[in-house]
């Protein structure tokens, strides 16, 4: 509000008309801005993506490692190195599938998991890090996983191996964006197959 005196200019008396020019233009501006942020940016994002793969079909990370990407994810070419690592993104989530030999230097997958897990524990961005837990994919490939979470960032890491070859799969991103993509991420991890594995699985 304002205080006026008799010497002040007249009080602002805007014309009030539901379909007046000021009313309509104001409403259009508000709707346009919200539409841009709520849908426009998403449309630009969708149209500018070059996935580099066909969702639902096997994608080879290296000669010995492949997996099946889900729809809606795209390749971050800057984070992808042919034959070694592929980086996928969606809604701010970043998933890397990295071919890794866990047996180098006489180590085991569990040793590597402990190393990565401890690193998460020392990361100032994470306040909570779960214990390392085992899992087995539908194709019988064994692995371990754990989660980490911080004020704005959450992460889950999988290590999978068929005993000969291995894959290190860290996924990070804003905590608020995990819910919609968790199932897709788990499906992609499930779909990991190694050249020595029995048969590839698609989702």
């Amino acid at each position: 509000m304002t205080f006026t005196t008799t010497s002040a200019p007249p009080v602002d008396r805007r014309p009030r008309d539901l379909f007046g020019r000021r009313s309509i233009i104001g409403a259009i501006v508000v709707v346009a801005v919200l539409t841009f942020f709520g849908a426009g940016l998403r449309a630009i994002d969708e149209n500018s993506k070059s996935t580099g793969f066909t969702p639902g079909q096997i994608y080879a990370v290296s000669d010995t490692l492949s997996f099946t990407p889900e729809a809606g994810w795209s390749i971050d070419t800057a984070g992808t190195l042919a034959g070694a690592v592929v980086t996928l993104t969606k809604d701010g989530l970043v998933m890397k599938v990295i071919g890794q030999d866990f047996t180098a230097g006489g180590q085991t997958m569990q040793d590597s998991a402990t190393t990565f897990h401890d690193a998460d524990g020392q990361d100032a961005g994470y306040t909570t890090v779960s214990d390392i837990g085992p899992f087995t994919t539908s194709t019988g490939t064994t692995g371990v996983t754990w989660t980490a979470s911080g004020p704005a960032q959450a992460a889950q890491t999988w290590l999978v191996s068929d005993g000969t070859s291995g894959a290190y799969v860290p996924v990070t991103g804003p905590a608020s964006n995990w819910t919609n993509s968790q199932q897709e991420i788990e499906s992609m991890v499930e779909s990991i197959v190694f050249a020595s594995a029995s048969s590839p699985t698609t989702t």
Partner: protein, 386 residues
């Protein structure tokens, strides 16, 4: 705020009343857009906050604890800011709508926009860029713009009567507070695994980080918007410059808070929060101080020209100019006539402030002005007989 004669020639008849601010305005298309957008935002934000309604079933203790803690936080913060308004008590309904815009509209749309823009940064540059800088650019740009849009909506509603720098500051803080508590509740429920972790979030984001977060950012922007729409005694370039400058300052502070690459420079979280947060708070205080001085001059001129000295005497008006002099006046009365009279003096001061606001909004013959004048006279009589 309009230019005024600061040395008025005695009491005159009241200028044209400004009208009582209200949010309901069926004759404004913007109002109906606001209604639809608030409903749309409420549905989507509810789904976002509760994980499509499952949160209270899956993790009830964290969900309820978070809800109670952040609700209390919002009420305490809102009450503190609301009761520290110096001369004007702004409309509670407009205040709630501002809060709701921040909490229900800005949060949901910013969530969508941030996700999309983060994807684009990764596509255009790399995931490292997104992590280090891109997410901070997205958040500062999308969130500050969407919160500012809430202020623009209020400015576009003629009956909301956002007409001063302090109006902009106040409603800006309310928009920012709404955004802040809803975002904090979201982070708490999504990341806290147990009650201890939820309390840690409340401590870190609410009590340590909350003093210089969204409410402060949008308060600064709001001051700029308020200056833009009210200071007609200044040129357009200055007014536009002030609004753009305030937005730029809020953007930079927000960006500095979010840029994870900067966290490597100061590794101590508490120190980093202080280094980034204190300048924001200081800037806000400077803005409020300057705006209050302006409001004080205009208020004094209005009282001198328009208020009956038998309702608010010159000495009483002088005592009402700031919190310190109000307290001193209450102490003087309490010292002379006892503690009860001191409390009555507090009520008298509030009634006088209400009266002056009512006269400005509705004129001397307005219903509220007459009621407030009766309150003043009654309280004055009670103090006299104490």
């Amino acid at each position: 705020m309009s230019a005024v004669n600061e040395t008025p020639p005695g009491r005159q008849t009241v200028g044209t009343p400004t009208g009582r601010p209200r949010i309901f305005d069926a004759e404004s298309f913007v109002f109906w857009v606001l209604v639809v957008v608030l409903a749309f935002g409420a549905i989507h934000t509810y789904n976002l906050l509760t994980d499509n309604g499952t949160l209270f079933t899956v993790n009830p203790s964290i969900a309820w604890l978070g809800l109670v803690l952040w609700s209390l936080y919002a009420i305490a913060f809102l009450a503190f800011v609301y009761y520290h308004q110096l001369f004007v008590r702004r409309s509670p309904w407009i205040t709630l709508v501002a809060f709701a815009w921040g909490g229900l509209v800005a949060t949901y749309f910013a969530s969508e926009a941030n996700n999309a823009l983060d994807d684009l940064w990764t596509h255009w540059y790399s995931s490292d860029f997104t992590s280090n800088w891109g997410s901070a650019i997205s958040a500062a740009t999308n969130e500050e713009t969407l919160k500012t849009l809430g202020l623009v909506v209020l400015v576009l509603l003629p009956l909301a009567r956002v007409r001063s720098t302090l109006d902009g500051w106040f409603y800006g803080m309310m928009v920012g507070l709404g955004f802040q508590v809803v975002e904090d509740y979201l982070y708490t429920t999504q990341n806290a695994g147990d009650i201890g972790a939820a309390l840690d979030y409340f401590w870190g984001r609410g009590l340590v980080g909350g003093l210089w977060s969204h409410a402060v950012f949008t308060g600064i922007v709001g001051g700029g918007i308020g200056f833009l729409v009210s200071r007609r005694d200044r040129s357009w370039p200055i007014r536009i410059g002030a609004a753009v400058g305030a937005f730029a300052i809020a953007w930079v502070i927000h960006f500095l808070f979010d840029a994870s690459a900067l966290n490597n420079w100061i590794t101590d979280d508490f120190l980093a929060t202080l280094v980034k947060g204190v300048p924001a708070l200081v800037l806000l205080f400077i803005l409020v101080h300057l705006a209050r001085n302006q409001e004080r001059r205009i208020w004094s001129a209005f009282v001198a020209s328009n208020i009956d000295p038998t309702v608010v005497s010159e000495a009483e008006a002088t005592a009402l100019l700031d919190h310190k002099s109000r307290k001193q006046a209450r102490k003087t009365v309490a010292h002379a006539k006892g503690h009860h009279a001191g409390r009555l003096q507090k009520h008298l001061q509030r009634a006088q402030l209400r009266y002056i606001q009512s006269v400005a909004e509705e004129g001397l013959d307005g219903q509220h002005a007459r009621e407030d004048e009766a309150d003043v006279n009654e309280l004055r009589a009670l103090i006299a007989s104490a």
